[in-house]
Symmetry: C2
Subunit: 144 residues, 2 copies
């Protein structure tokens, strides 16, 4: 299965998620772990599409999401900043999901500069992450 | 908002529906009306994307779907067969939704030949339509 770049941005506009988890982690010096994740979830009947995405981006993994749902996901900051983000900069999202993407990109950029390892940076990431994945909320570029 | 053709097929692979309704209609000679519909439903926050699809295809309408959901839809057999179907033949779907699309295309083709106006043709359309939109069912080209 070969897929076109703009097919990927259209499919992700419908089915993808840009998510940043912030978890307590006592093994980290700052006490919190920042976990950015790009994810596409599908019913297992379409797992072949998730494998096609993995092949397309040449990074990430395909795993069980929940029950009969499978997911393609990328968590590595290196792969997110070197592969996923440049792709969506070049083949932009169109729906309101683009605002999640823009915030996600900011957070990954802060992580690349190790800002998540000090309190000020972590607080900024926390504030940014709270604006994400808010279903059914209208957003504009001034609200993020 | 300008959209790329493959973005459209990717987005429709995630968010679109190819549906054929068959309703009793006593004003029709055969007693039934066949209603094919291509539809994309979004929360109202993304209504601008539905208008972009309408502009892209230069046919169809944007209407309320249900509650805070809006839809872009095309029902005209002429527009389906002259615009929508040629587009998805050229920019194919990849997910299992492609099997709905192939059945939908068959039904629209039968309608173009007025097969829905006689009992044999109507029965064939009914049988075809029953294989469509079956969530979470694996399908292959031999099952449709």
């Amino acid at each position: 299965m070969t897929i076109q770049p703009y097919w990927v941005s259209g499919f992700v506009d419908g089915e993808g998620t840009f998510y940043v988890g912030i978890n307590k982690n006592i093994t980290m010096k700052i006490g919190y772990q920042v976990l950015p994740e790009f994810r596409v979830v599908q019913h297992e009947k379409d797992v072949v599409v998730l494998h096609a995405l993995k092949k397309f981006f040449n990074c990430g993994v395909v795993r069980v999401n929940h029950g009969d749902r499978m997911e393609y996901r990328v968590r590595s900051v290196k792969h997110l900043s070197q592969i996923i983000i440049p792709f969506f900069d070049k083949h932009p999202l169109i729906t309101q999901k683009k605002f999640d993407y823009i915030t996600f990109r900011k957070i990954v950029s802060l992580m690349k500069e190790n800002k998540h390892l000090n309190e000020k940076g972590l607080q900024r990431i926390l504030t940014l992450s709270r604006t994400m994945n808010r279903k059914n909320k209208f957003r504009t570029s001034t609200t993020i």
